[in-house]
């Protein structure tokens, strides 16, 4: 627990940087094949493949390489842009996208560590966003105070929704997978309802849209009007640090992990498992709720029914890819942010549907999780067999829990 668990480090070492790079390469290759195979030029060149095979290959290469180059320009550095701001903008977009993803994923990760499979980040985010929006447009206060209230509101909203799951789970043994799935839908409908009532609906509008949040309730932009990146990113980074402290240094984190690993032993050691289950879900919800504030009070400025986008679901993948470890989650969400930002540019520049990003993303996660497969794909040969021991970084209990919890 203290330092990242030994097995986590061992895992990193055994799936060395090389394997990770190869995993990404392999995923891009598969994605590239898909892009090429559905590219019109490639398919038309393929009709005379046997006459001039090189044409097909060249077209395929153009299609794939063009798409990926655009992705890079959209996510990291735009070498085509005329201005410095234009060049740097992609990076800030990546960070902007990563912001809500980061906190939501941290929430999922904390729950994992407590042995809970939290599919409910979506709903928790919605509740957080509702609170943050309402505070954001009803109140008029001095800037830092107002924003602070907004953040607290989002935390409260998410915590309520998450805590409800924890409480029901602890008190009745109901399965958190069912509870979180159902509460996602309840939250969505609640939002839909409130956006059609004066509580959240923009006066005079017939659409389910909230009023704009007052400027004092917004996260300030970090690099001026030209960049969307806002102070919510710094708050998310701070949250990462807090979660790191929580999980690796605090007594509460110790309790959470104990309950997550072995509920019986935790109970015997005097840990109040009911309290810990509820608290873990409260924290998970609070973090996801913060993502709601990042969305509305960071980038969007108003609330709609689709505020959660697919952040809550992506958060599950990100948390798993980051092995439920705060630092891992940070990098995983940056990667996903980059994909999202890059995917948009790719779509605009080359017409490649953004769905391909989902394909490449998922393949990367799978490949990174299965180093032996990557090694054999690239003919690297097996490493000397390690003793097979389950890695602690993974939410092992969560797995069991997702399948049915404990007796």
């Amino acid at each position: 627990m203290s330092t990242p668990s030994p097995s986590f480090l061992a895992r990193l070492r055994s799936s060395s940087a090389l394997v990770s790079v190869l995993a990404i390469v392999a995923s891009f290759i598969v994605g590239g094949i898909l892009i090429a195979a559905t590219d019109e030029k490639t398919t038309s060149a393929a009709t005379y493949f046997f006459a001039r095979p090189l044409d097909t290959l060249a077209a395929a290469w153009d299609a794939a390489a063009g798409s990926y180059a655009a992705m890079f320009r959209g996510a990291i550095f735009n070498y085509d842009a005329g201005t410095f701001a234009g060049m740097m903008r992609p990076l800030t977009e990546t960070l902007t996208y990563a912001t809500p993803l980061l906190t939501a994923s941290l929430g999922v990760a904390v729950a994992f560590r407590a042995g809970l499979f939290n599919i409910g980040a979506q709903g928790q985010l919605i509740l957080g966003a509702m609170f943050a929006t309402w505070i954001g447009f009803t109140l008029e206060l001095a800037w830092p105070l107002h924003l602070l209230l907004v953040i607290l509101g989002s935390i409260l909203g998410g915590a309520l929704w998450g805590g409800l799951v924890g409480w029901l789970k602890a008190k009745t043994g109901a399965h958190e997978v069912i509870l979180t799935i159902m509460l996602n839908y309840v939250a969505l409908n609640l939002l839909g309802y409130l956006l059609n009532t004066p509580v959240l609906q923009r006066p005079g509008s017939t659409n389910p849209v909230s009023p704009q949040v007052n400027p004092s309730g917004m996260y300030p932009l970090l690099f001026g009007e030209d960049f969307r990146l806002h102070a919510g990113f710094l708050v998310a980074l701070a949250a990462t640090a807090v979660v790191w402290w929580l999980m690796n240094r605090s007594t509460l984190g110790f309790e959470i992990k104990a309950v997550g690993s072995n509920r019986h032993a935790a109970k015997t050691a005097g840990i109040n498992t009911v309290k810990v289950t509820v608290l873990a879900m409260v924290i998970a919800g609070a973090l996801a709720g913060m993502s709601g504030a990042a969305q509305v009070n960071g980038t969007e400025r108003f609330l709609t029914e689709s505020v959660a986008a697919s952040i809550g679901f992506d958060a599950i993948t990100v948390a798993l890819l980051g092995r439920s470890h705060p630092i891992g989650v940070l990098f995983a969400s940056l990667l996903f942010g980059a994909f999202r930002a890059g995917g948009l540019t790719m779509q605009i520049a080359t017409g490649t549907p953004i769905d391909i990003v989902l394909v490449v993303q998922s393949l990367i996660v799978l490949f990174i999780a299965a180093p032996p497969l990557v090694r054999s794909l690239f003919g690297l040969g097996e490493r000397k067999k390690k003793r097979e021991r389950p890695s602690k970084g993974e939410p092992k209990q969560a797995v069991a829990a997702a399948a049915g919890g404990d007796k």
């Binding site: 017939t206 969307r228 930002a341 995917g343 779509q347 605009i348 017409g351």
Partner: protein
């Protein structure tokens, strides 16, 4: 869809027309798709270049707009109310780029912006009247994808049209499903079931206002044991557009987004871009009902004339279809 391929054979002009969808995507069978067809038409007939971006999530809409601006688009089209103030902000910040906003309006428009809205209720009113006239069971129905104004406008107009028929003919045709919403625009099983529910309660004309889910209603009607069941399609001409629409679609409430988007681009290409809050009506042809095709013979005699008369009255302001 690579942009350079000028399929229509029109001479290429140095003009970049762009469009950003909302979450629905360009194949949503609804406003995104209809607007997109306007863009394609411009590409084919005007020889402009195009770029398009789907917003996979609401979070993508802002960045997509930004990217279009930096890509040097001459005109950017957005579809759907979800964009909210984003196009307005962009328009104010980028005077050289023109913006065409579908299904949303602002109080004051900058010089470089057009908004396109449609009084779909007017056309739906006619469709409601026609549906009531056509119905043998005395029950017609409707349902929506979600409870939003662009959806409910259709439904309300439809209901008013039915009521008008009842008044004029002393009939008692009922409208069911005014409060029935699928909850999304993607769950085909649910939409199908709602259609089945309506049919089994005796409804014989259904107007689904749910984008691609309307297809389920067409399928339900085509599968139903009763030959006379029919669909009122929305947005486009379902007779052409829907799979199996020729045997099921009584008529369609057309919202001519494609055409108006095309016209907006055409104006600009010709150097006549006008900042304007365009409102599609029966009068200007922005909305309308599609032909009845084979179903025309099944309408009570004189219905077509009555519809024409109603249309005139609406245009003349003698009837308020939403009032």
């Amino acid at each position: 869809a690579p942009e350079e391929s000028a399929g229509g054979g029109a001479e290429e002009v140095d003009y970049l027309a762009c469009m950003v969808s909302d979450e629905g995507g360009f194949d949503d069978g609804s406003f995104n798709q209809a607007s997109y067809e306007g863009l394609v038409q411009a590409e084919e007939e005007l020889g402009v270049q195009t770029r398009e971006a789907e917003s996979g999530a609401s979070t993508d809409m802002g960045p997509n707009l930004d990217q279009m601006v930096s890509a040097g688009c001459d005109t950017i089209v957005t579809a759907g109310f979800m964009f909210e103030d984003l196009p307005l902000n962009e328009a104010e910040a980028n005077a050289e780029t023109n913006f065409v906003v579908v299904d949303y309006g602002y109080e004051e428009l900058p010089e470089n912006m057009r908004t396109l809205n449609y009084k779909t209720g007017e056309a739906a009113y006619l469709a409601g009247y026609a549906a009531a006239a056509y119905s043998e069971s005395g029950k017609v129905g409707t349902f929506g994808g979600a409870e939003i104004a662009t959806v409910t406008d259709f439904m309300v107009g439809f209901e008013k049209g039915v009521q008008k028929f009842n008044e004029d003919k002393g009939a008692d045709v009922a409208v069911e499903g005014m409060e029935t919403f699928v909850g999304n625009f993607s769950d085909t099983v649910k939409a199908k079931q709602i259609s089945e529910n309506l049919l089994s309660s005796g409804v014989d004309v259904i107007m689904p206002v749910a984008g691609p889910l309307g297809q389920t209603t067409v399928d339900a009607v085509n599968e139903s044991s009763s030959e006379t069941d029919a669909v009122v399609w929305v947005d486009t001409d379902g007779h052409e557009y829907a799979n199996g629409g020729d045997t099921a679609v009584l008529t369609s409430v057309m919202k001519n987004m494609g055409l108006t988007v095309f016209e907006s681009i055409e104006m600009d290409v010709n150097g006549e871009f006008a900042s304007e809050a365009y409102l599609g009506t029966l009068e200007n042809g922005g909305v309308g009902i599609a032909p009845f095709y084979e179903f025309e013979g099944d309408l009570p005699k004189g219905t077509i004339d009555e519809l024409d008369a109603l249309k005139e009255q609406i245009i003349a302001g003698e009837i308020d279809p939403l009032g």
